[in-house]
Structures are given as structure tokens and as C-alpha cells.
């Protein structure tokens, strides 16, 4: 009996050894995914904590506000900037104004901006809720709920660690106000102690404590949205499944090649380019129908605001479906069997979906991974849909996403056509 069971086990391994698709799924895919998630969340070497981008605007221009800005710029967990990045060979652009920073957040350049208002330096801090203080404005994009929390927390920490002298000064003002004043000797001793406090921003030490700086938090994107993240998930999940559908639709080429139908079709007046175009057209229409269903469902069940964004939805759906369909054609044309196509599709689609933001937003990832994500159809499609549904941007602003998706579709189709030559003649 054991020998028979052993024979069954042996046959299993023999078959697996000759089935490359199953081998890839069994061994390559798990390792590849482990690596991708490791890079996203752990970073290679484990020392790359993702930094939150924040734009800084100093309308106060006081000593206190300038020290705060400097401290924020040097805070390692923030990627703070006071002006847009300079392009190569061009002068450094002017600093952000409050309006420019708000526009930049709306356009998705950064998830948050801190506006230090005029008069902040006179009353920067307050102990307790009743204290007089000038609030800093925190503008944020609520599609990234983590960023606002983090920037708010880091602001309090920076104040604690970089402006201890200001805190002491404000503390003494409170003491004098409520205790009836200091004697000259007490004043002298306290001034001497305060002069020993470091004025430069400190880089270490744990933050926390009370709300020293008043924050006026405002959503500048999505403040009127009924259901903030649903368009992201509709696009993200939709594109991932579209890729699977397109690879299956493309795989019909392999079925037809195997059954002989492809030969028969190519012996008629249909040539390979027409056949591929037809298959891709079907695949693109199917993808469009799937996306439409996803968004209609989102509108019906999750209050996604589809009907006020129809033009942008149509443009993004057409471009995304085109690119996805071309991907399916390429996959089929490079594969030799259905099993092989299935294995390659699973590997590539899950990888693209992970790094392209279909599984979780790309802004959670380290900057390097966010850049890598731009090689995927998912990333461009999600960015485009986000512009339409989240940022309410005009159609023209979709040009980069539509251009990349359409361009990718054309290039993938041309490569697929080149590989499909193997079916044309023998």
C-alpha cells in the first residue's frame, strides 16, 4: 500500500517538474510576492520608512515661524518643501503661497500643506484649551487619511523638540499672569536658566504631549464627497480583474490555435492583424462593460458620484480598457499554451496590482516603490480615475494618464502583432 501511495506522490512530482506553469505558481510567485511586499512595507534592508510629503507656507515670517519651518524641513519622517522642485537647469521656483499650496494639494502633488498665518509668532503656543494662540492651517487630501494625522502629530513633536525656549517663555508668561509676577531675583535666575536652553532645532527625542499648537484642519480635496475612497477601490480592483479578464480573452487565441480554428480563419480573407484587432476590440469592450458595471454598482450601493463625472469616466474607461486589452493580446501571443499563459498572467497581474496600487494606495509605499509602480497600467488608470472622481479635475488634466495608457496599448499591440507572426505561416 505504501509503495502505491509513494508511486502516486512520485507521479505528482514528475508531472509538476514538466509543468512550468505550475512550477512558477508554486515557487516563483510566492517568493516574488514576498519580495514585493517586503519592499513596500519593510524596505530593502528595513531602514526605509516612508516619508509623508508636506508643503510649508510661512505667511508670518517671524523668528518663531522660521525656526518652526526649519525644524519641519529637517524632520526625518517628513518630506517637507517650501517651494516646488526646480527642474534641471532652471532657477528655483518661488515659495508656495497659501493659494498655491492648496492648488498643489488639490492636484495631488502632496497629501498635506501647513500654512503658518500672520501673527503666529506673537502667540505660537498655548497650554490648555483656553489659551490664546494663532492656529496653523493644515490643508489635506482626505484620500490619504494617514498623512494628515501624521503631519499634525509631527508638528506637535517638532514644537516640543525644536522650540523648548519658546515653550518656557510662554510658560513663564502664564506663570506671571496667574501668580501675580516675579521678584527681580526670581526673574534673573529664570533668565539665566532659559539662556542655557538650545535655540537650534533638536533632532531627537520623543514627541507627544498636549496640543501646544492650534491646528485648523481642512479637507481641500473630497470635502464634499459622500464616500471618499470608493472610486479608488472601484478603479483599483476593477483594473486588476480587467487584466485577468483580458488575459483570458486573449487566451482564446491559444484555444483557436490548438483547435485549428486559427488556421481556418487565417485561410479565409481575415489576416492576422485583423484577427488580433478583432480580438482586442472584443477584449476592450468587455473590459469597458466590466468597469461600467463596477462604477454603476459603486454609485448604487456606495454612493459613488458617477453621474456628475460621466465624461471623465468615459475617457478613462476607454483608455484603460484599450491598454488592458492590448496587454491580454501580448500575453497570449508570447505564450505557447493556455497553462503557460495562465501562470504568466497570474504572476504579472498580481505583481502589477501590488506595485501599481490596486491592492493598497501607492502613497503608502516608499517613494522608490511609487516610482516603480508607474511602469504598471494599474497606477496610471488609478491616477486617472482619482483625478476624475476625487480631484474633480478637468478632462485636459487627464492627458498624461490617457496618453500613457493609449501609448502603452499601441506598443503592446505592436509587440503582440510581432509575436503573432509565428501563427501566420509554417
Amino acid at each position: 500500500m505504501i509503495a502505491m501511495i509513494a508511486a502516486i506522490i512520485q507521479n505528482g512530482f514528475r508531472s509538476l517538474r514538466r509543468d512550468r506553469g505550475a512550477l512558477i505558481l508554486s515557487f516563483v510567485l510566492p517568493v516574488a510576492f514576498f519580495s514585493i511586499f517586503g519592499m513596500i512595507f519593510g524596505g530593502v534592508g528595513g531602514d526605509k520608512t516612508p516619508r509623508v510629503s508636506v508643503l510649508l507656507v510661512d505667511d508670518d515670517r517671524s523668528t518663531v515661524s522660521e525656526r518652526l519651518v526649519q525644524a519641519l524641513l529637517q524632520e526625518p519622517s517628513l518630506d517637507a518643501s517650501i517651494h516646488p522642485k526646480a527642474k534641471k537647469g532652471e532657477p528655483v521656483p518661488p515659495d508656495y503661497t497659501a493659494a498655491a499650496a492648496e492648488t498643489a494639494v488639490k492636484q495631488g502633488d502632496a497629501p498635506a500643506a501647513l500654512i503658518i498665518p500672520k501673527g503666529f509668532g506673537a502667540h505660537p503656543l498655548a497650554f490648555g484649551p483656553s489659551g490664546q494662540r494663532t492656529p496653523i492651517q493644515l490643508l489635506h487630501d482626505s484620500s490619504d487619511p494617514v498623512a494628515a494625522q501624521m503631519v499634525g502629530g509631527m508638528l506637535q513633536k517638532v514644537v516640543m523638540t525644536s522650540m523648548p525656549d519658546t515653550m518656557e517663555k510662554m510658560g513663564m508668561q502664564y506663570f506671571e499672569k496667574y501668580s501675580g509676577g516675579l521678584t527681580p531675583e526670581q526673574r534673573k535666575n529664570i533668565d539665566a536658566a532659559m539662556s542655557r536652553q538650545p535655540a537650534a532645532p533638536a533632532q531627537t527625542g520623543s514627541g507627544g504631549g498636549g496640543e501646544l499648537i492650534a491646528l485648523n484642519v481642512r479637507d481641500v480635496v473630497g470635502e464634499k464627497k459622500q464616500n471618499s475612497m470608493i472610486s479608488f477601490y472601484a478603479a483599483g480592483i476593477g483594473v486588476m480583474f480587467l487584466l485577468f479578464t483580458a488575459s483570458a480573452a486573449g487566451g482564446s487565441l491559444l484555444d483557436e490555435a490548438e483547435s485549428g480554428a486559427l488556421d481556418r480563419i487565417l485561410s479565409s480573407r481575415v489576416n492576422m492583424t485583423m484577427l488580433l484587432a478583432g480580438k482586442m476590440g472584443y477584449s476592450a469592450l468587455l473590459a469597458s462593460a466590466q468597469l461600467t458595471l463596477m462604477f454603476l454598482w459603486g454609485a448604487a450601493v456606495f454612493r459613488l458620484d458617477l453621474f456628475t463625472h460621466i465624461p471623465g469616466f468615459i475617457v478613462m474607461t476607454a483608455a484603460t480598457s484599450f491598454a488592458v486589452a492590448a496587454f491580454g493580446m501580448l500575453l497570449a501571443s508570447v505564450s505557447h499554451t493556455r497553462a503557460q499563459a495562465g501562470a504568466i498572467a497570474t504572476l504579472i497581474i498580481l505583481t502589477m496590482s501590488a506595485i501599481g496600487g490596486s491592492m493598497f494606495p501607492r502613497y503608502f509605499m516608499p517613494e522608490s516603490m511609487q516610482k516603480v509602480g508607474l511602469i504598471t497600467i494599474n497606477a496610471w488608470a488609478i491616477d486617472g480615475y482619482t483625478k476624475v472622481f476625487w480631484r474633480d479635475e478637468p478632462l485636459l488634466h487627464l492627458a498624461p494618464q490617457v496618453g500613457v495608457l493609449m501609448g502603452a496599448g499601441i506598443v503592446l499591440f505592436l509587440i503582440a502583432r510581432r509575436f503573432a507572426r509565428r501563427w501566420e505561416f509554417s
Binding site: 483547435s259 485549428g260 480554428a261 488556421d263 481556418r264 480563419i265 487565417l266 485561410s267 479565409s268 480573407r269 481575415v270 505561416f425 509554417s426
Partner: protein
């Protein structure tokens, strides 16, 4: 449909096709006249399908030329004149009979009334009118074969390439397919029919090309082929007992040869049936135990055996 092109339906001149080290078609030249039915007869792997595929434009010859009504094989004009029925069931399994015919008709550029007429004719011809709404996967094997044939003929081509159309069908369905081919001939179609069944070639084709190892080793009407190979002689198959040490030498000494792939069977061509007695006497004298003797009227199988030393079904 495109206007009739000039030239004879099919002309192949010195066609050679190699796949790596294998020469699948080795210098084949063939002419097929309008309305003729040419049978390509040969064992599996003889090169029949490669030849058919080169006519359909799906195989590019390494040298030589294939012309369909004077047009190069594979050209749009040639494809319009051809109806290719591949050996495989090249159909859409999830579509109905009518939908399959519609698809292949449209691939040939048909639309409107021409398409509707083509579909109706095909359904009648293939005796599938009552199953027109049935999906392929629900059809019997014979019905699928008939639909497979019909799908190649929706556009009513003038040349029909039938590549082993009866493979895997029961005798009843085979007879139905024979009737369909006969009906096609009645409509004046030129037919090229590959098979490794001698009976089919004898029954359906007026000209037969016997193919082996990619070459046409004999060509003509059945009677001509038999006459060329046997004259008026008959074919004798003699099976020796397993104990016989060297039957090949004995067969050669008596004008025969051993049949490849059939252990202990020799074949001889005899002028008179009574010559069998002489062979049996000689075997007895030489101490060879003969366990079976068959006298056959020569047919295409005998011709193939005579020409190649092998059985057609090997």
C-alpha cells in the same frame, strides 16, 4: 464572390517543404482540372496535410510554386476560391451551428442575402437544418464533422480541400459524408481529398496521387495505377509460421518481398491464381510452414504495398 480567375484550379510545381531535418513535401508537382476530384492517398505522416496546407496558403513552400486559378496560394484571390476543411474540428464550440456558419461566412466577406443563402445551403447540405440552433458541444461526432465541412463551404468555393474528413466517425456518418462529397461534385466543385483509407479514395476520387515520404510515387485513375503496378497479375499474401528462420530470403528468391511491419508475411504478384499452388509447393519442399495464404484482386492498397513494401495503414 470574386470574379473567376484564369487558369486551371490547381497547379503545383516542384513544391518542397522542410521542417528542420524532415522533408515533409519533396518535389511534388500536380495539376488538377476543373470539376475533378483528386485523392491524396498515403499513410499517416506521408505529407498529405502539409500539401493541403500549402494549397490553403498556410504553409509557405521552401521552393516551388502553388497556384490556384493562376493566383499564388495564400493570395486574397486564391483564398476566395478555396474552401478548406481541416482535419481538426476547427469550430467555435460554444456557438450554434448557424452562428458558426455565420462567423466563417463573414470571415470570407459574405453579408446580407449571400450570407443567409450560404448558411441555408450549408445547413441543408450537411443535414443540420433541424439542429441549426444547437451548440457544437451538444452535437454528435458525426454532426460535428459535417458542420466542420460546412463551415469551409459557406462562401461556395470552387475548390474544396477536404483533409481526412472522415477521421473518427462511425460508418453511418461516413456514408453521409460520402454523399455530401458526391453532391459537391454534382455542383461542379473541384475537390482535393486526403485520406489514408483506400476505399474512400476508390469510391470518391477519379484521380489518385499516392504519397509517401512527401513524394507522389504514383498518379492516375485507380485502374491505371493497378495496371501500372500489377499488369494483369494478382496479389498473394503468405504468412509463415514463427518457427521459419529466414522467410525474407526465401520470399526474395521467389520474386516476393516481406511486408514491413507485419511479422512473417510475404507478398507476391502472380499472373494466374493457380500460381499459388507453385508457391505452396516450393515452400513445402524447402520446409517452410505456411499458415495462411490470401489471394487478392489488386487494389490501391496493393499498389501502395507494391510500391513501398508497407501497408497503407501503418
Amino acid at each position: 464572390m470574386a470574379p473567376p480567375a484564369l487558369g486551371i484550379p490547381l497547379r503545383m510545381v516542384s513544391v518542397v517543404k522542410r521542417f528542420g531535418d524532415l522533408t515533409a513535401v519533396d518535389g511534388v508537382s500536380l495539376d488538377v482540372a476543373e470539376g475533378a476530384c483528386l485523392g491524396l492517398l498515403g499513410p499517416n505522416g506521408a505529407g498529405k496535410s502539409t500539401l493541403i496546407r500549402s494549397i490553403a496558403g498556410r504553409v509557405l513552400p521552401d521552393s516551388g510554386s502553388v497556384r490556384v486559378f493562376g493566383q499564388p496560394a495564400g493570395s486574397a484571390a486564391a483564398r476566395a476560391e478555396l474552401g478548406w476543411v481541416p482535419q481538426e474540428l476547427a469550430l467555435y464550440p460554444l456557438l450554434t451551428c448557424r452562428e458558426n456558419l455565420e462567423a466563417f461566412g463573414r470571415y470570407q466577406g459574405l453579408h446580407g442575402k449571400a450570407l443567409r443563402d450560404g448558411i441555408a445551403w450549408c445547413l441543408e447540405w450537411a443535414a443540420l437544418a433541424d439542429r441549426s440552433g444547437a451548440t457544437v458541444k451538444t452535437l454528435s461526432g458525426g454532426m460535428r464533422r459535417r458542420l466542420n465541412m460546412a463551415a469551409g463551404l459557406v462562401h461556395r468555393p470552387r475548390i474544396v480541400l477536404l483533409d481526412e474528413p472522415t477521421v473518427g466517425v462511425d460508418p453511418q456518418s461516413r456514408n453521409r459524408i460520402f454523399d455530401m462529397v458526391a453532391e459537391l461534385r454534382g455542383h461542379g466543385a473541384t475537390i482535393i481529398y486526403t485520406t489514408h483509407y483506400m476505399e474512400e479514395a476508390e469510391r470518391l476520387c477519379d484521380t489518385i496521387a499516392i504519397i509517401d515520404h512527401g513524394r507522389v510515387i504514383a498518379q492516375g485513375a485507380k485502374e491505371e495505377l493497378v495496371e501500372q503496378s500489377f499488369g494483369r497479375r494478382s496479389d498473394v499474401l503468405m504468412r509463415f509460421a514463427a518457427s521459419v528462420a529466414d522467410p525474407a530470403a526465401w520470399a526474395a528468391a521467389h520474386g516476393g518481398s516481406m511486408q514491413e511491419g507485419s511479422e512473417g508475411v510475404a507478398h507476391f504478384a502472380v499472373s494466374q491464381p493457380t500460381d499459388i499452388a507453385g508457391l505452396l509447393d516450393a515452400a513445402g519442399r524447402d520446409g517452410l510452414e505456411v499458415i495462411d495464404v490470401v489471394l487478392r484482386r489488386p487494389n490501391l492498397e496493393s499498389v501502395f504495398l507494391q510500391l513501398t513494401g508497407r501497408d497503407l495503414r501503418q
